[in-house]
């Protein structure tokens, strides 16, 4: 049990007083971010990332910094449930499915049980995903040590094809959004040939577009604009959780063990394959409704209807970190921001991280266990406080959030140009959201664009331009074939159904 030993060492790192403090700070900040409109896991972490630059330079500081940021992520995952249940406003897209049964429960006066069920199942979903990460990530990383440029490019290809095939939305829009991300990533100085690309003489474009700015603008400003037109009346159920309600709900929860396990499995799978937390939560809600005894009553306030999406969303959000630390391929926008953090701190995410920085990796994994425990404690005890944040009038909170976004954008490179860009990305994000262009592929392409291109170039350089290099051995051929299968999955499925329907 090599993993268990490594994990115990990780706990040694994560349990230092400073790191424990950072965990609670991160979780609390994360919940606030998750509750506020316009701030979410991805842009919340992006805004706070510059604050960790100096922290990461101290010895052992990178571990503390990743613990802080990943705990913000866990907090944001928890926070989304609070607004969904109490206010019927999903703070995060993955908590939309939680509103279906969570808010009716709150209206029935059972807000306490809905919240307890949501937090507990979030915790269980995350726990299952972390256990999977503990045992699976060394295997994946060991496997990936044999990867060369063609293999890495085919992994990227797999990631992006999965987006097109699995997202279920309009494929052309997914591709357009993704390719815009790649094009923006190409702007600036080409590191291989030293040529300037797509700058058109503007010196401010020399450095290219930073994805952190894109994340802050697309998700932050865009969401504020969207919230604005939906109207601003926050009418919430009151939030009181007392210990009796918690115990009563905990007694009820074991009944839904099958739903929990199934949702966790859906979540883990969807998190690794970059489909993400949002489809996972809808999928497991749908499955639970179909398979549960009282599936017909779903939507009227069933605890099981809260358990299913919350378990899946949290499991997916957590397992999105598995490909991030083992392959350097993030499974979600927030994981992409964390990956960006690693790069800025001077760490190279990927299989070598397990060999070169075991303290960092296992400290992070151990902090996932501890951070989620910290999160559960904080949310169960402090819900009324966090719910009070939403009662701050929109005309105060909205400008404050935009100011925070502007500060976040400025501090990435201490550049005013980035702040202007952020506003432009905000308008783009608003239009894209309303027209159904997915934003996650754009962000991921912007993050991975340079490295995808580099691996692509190195691969075809090695083969003298022959694209068959992506089928040159079993490993890379398998990955590429799987990517193509996922890309054309909707067509294949439709064709298959057509064949079955006719016969």
């Amino acid at each position: 049990m090599e993993e268990v030993n490594a994990l115990l060492q990780g706990f040694g790192v994560a349990l230092s007083p400073l790191n424990l403090l950072l965990m609670f700070v991160g979780v609390i900040l994360g919940i606030i971010i998750g509750v506020l409109p316009g701030l979410g896991g991805a842009n919340g972490v992006a805004i706070l990332l510059p604050l960790t630059f100096s922290m990461a330079q101290q010895p052992g500081g990178t571990t503390s910094a990743i613990i802080l940021l990943s705990c913000i992520y866990w907090g944001a995952l928890f926070g989304g449930a609070i607004t969904s249940i109490l206010f019927n406003i999903p703070g995060e897209p993955w908590s939309v499915a939680t509103t279906f049964d969570g808010h009716p429960l709150a209206q029935l006066g059972r807000a306490g049980s809905a919240l307890t069920a949501a937090f507990t199942s979030s915790f269980i979903g995350a726990l299952i995903a972390v256990i999977m990460i503990t045992f699976l990530s060394p295997v994946v990383a060991g496997f990936a040590l044999r990867f060369g440029p063609p293999e890495f490019f085919s992994v990227y290809l797999l990631t992006f094809c999965a987006f097109v095939g699995m997202s279920g939305g309009n494929a052309a829009k997914t591709i357009a959004s993704m390719m815009i991300g790649f094009a923006l990533a190409a702007v600036g100085l080409d590191s291989v040939t030293g040529t300037l690309r797509l700058t058109f003489g503007f010196t401010s474009l020399l450095k290219g577009f930073d994805f952190l700015i894109a994340v802050i603008g697309l998700f932050g400003i865009g969401e504020i604009l969207e919230t604005l037109e939906e109207g601003l009346a926050f009418k919430g159920a009151s939030a009181r959780i007392n210990f009796k309600v918690v115990l009563e709900t905990w007694k009820e929860l074991p009944r839904y063990w099958a739903t929990s396990l199934r949702s966790a499995a859906v979540g883990c799978f969807m998190g690794i394959v970059p489909g993400g937390a949002t489809p996972a939560s809808f999928m497991s809600y749908g499955l639970a409704r179909r398979l549960s005894k009282d599936g017909n009553d779903f939507g009227s306030g069933k605890v099981e209807g809260v358990v299913a999406p919350e378990t899946a969303a949290h499991a997916a959000g957590t397992s999105a970190l598995l490909p991030m630390i083992t392959l350097g391929v993030p499974g979600s926008p927030t994981a992409a921001v964390l990956l960006g953090g690693l790069l800025i701190w001077g760490l190279q995410p990927g299989p070598l991280l397990f060999v070169e920085k075991p303290d960092f990796v296992w400290g992070l994994i151990a902090s996932m266990y501890l951070g989620n425990i910290a999160g559960l404690i904080v949310v169960l005890t402090c819900v009324p406080l966090f719910a009070a944040i939403l009662r701050i009038p929109f005309s105060i909170i909205a400008p404050v959030i935009i100011v925070i976004c502007a500060i976040g954008a400025y501090t990435v490179h201490n550049s005013m140009f980035d702040v202007y860009l952020m506003v432009a990305f905000g308008v783009l994000g608003y239009a894209f959201k309303k027209l159904g262009y997915p934003l996650a592929p754009l962000v991921l392409a912007l993050v991975l664009g340079d490295r995808a291109e580099e691996n692509f170039r190195n691969a075809i350089k090695g083969s003298q331009g022959d694209l068959l290099v992506f089928f040159s051995n079993g490993l890379v051929g398998g990955l590429t074939s799987l990517a193509l299968l996922l890309l054309f999955w909707p067509l294949i499925r439709a064709g298959w159904r057509g064949v079955l329907g006719k016969s």
């Binding site: 510059p50 604050l51 100096s54 309009n170 052309a172 829009k173 591709i175 357009a176 390719m179 815009i180 790649f182 094009a183 190409a186 080409d190 291989v192 040939t193 040529t195 300037l196 690309r197 797509l198 058109f200 400003i221 504020i224 604009l225 604005l228 037109e229 009038p393 929109f394 005309s395 105060i396 909205a398 400008p399 404050v400 935009i402 100011v403 502007a406 500060i407 400025y410 501090t411 201490n414 005013m416 702040v419 202007y420 506003v423 905000g426 308008v427 608003y430 239009a431 894209f432 309303k434 027209l435 291109e453 692509f456 170039r457 075809i460 350089k461 331009g465």
Partner: protein, 167 residues
């Protein structure tokens, strides 16, 4: 939905087509620039435009598909993308935000932020100045303490900070 249609500032179809055309032009720009820097095989491997060329072509293909679908779908013309009221609301936030961002450089971050929050509370929230002043100034002071002192992350400063000797 009669009212919604009358009050519509733009139909989904119009915006969908506009955005698809804009994306197509962007893709064409990428293709053009890739040819400019060279998209063929150089002496030592692929040239700088080799990879972006395909990216640009895919943008053009995808946006054409979106455009064709939008043109064929007549139902989209009846759907409102944004009503006049909504557009007005969005502009009351977007315009001041643009002004705010433009004011940061001459006025400094903290003064611009104070004015921005004050404007919001006055215009959207209809608060009295007795409430606006403490909240807007208090938030900026809090940000100053957090960023300049606690995290020592300097933000752009202007004449006010110079006058107060805080630079």
């Amino acid at each position: 939905m009669e009212n919604g249609e009358q009050g519509s500032a733009a139909s989904v179809k119009a915006v969908e087509i506009g955005v698809a055309v804009a994306i197509f032009l962007f893709g064409a720009l990428v293709v053009f620039d890739s040819y400019r820097v060279g998209a063929r095989w150089g002496d030592d491997g692929p040239q700088a435009g080799y990879f972006p060329l395909y990216v640009g072509l895919l943008i053009c293909f995808a946006s054409t598909a979106i455009l064709v679908r939008a043109l064929r779908n007549s139902a989209l013309a009846a759907e409102s993308f944004v009503s006049r009221d909504e557009l007005k609301k969005i502009l009351t936030v977007l315009v001041p935000t643009v002004v705010y961002v433009a004011l940061i450089a001459p006025l400094g971050f903290y003064l611009a932020s104070t004015l921005y929050i004050a404007y919001f509370m006055w215009f959207l929230g209809k608060y009295s100045w007795a409430k606006i002043a403490p909240v807007s100034i208090g938030v900026s002071v809090a940000f100053f303490l957090i960023f300049e002192i606690w995290f020592s992350v300097p933000l752009p400063k202007g004449p006010l900070e110079a006058a107060l000797g805080l630079n």
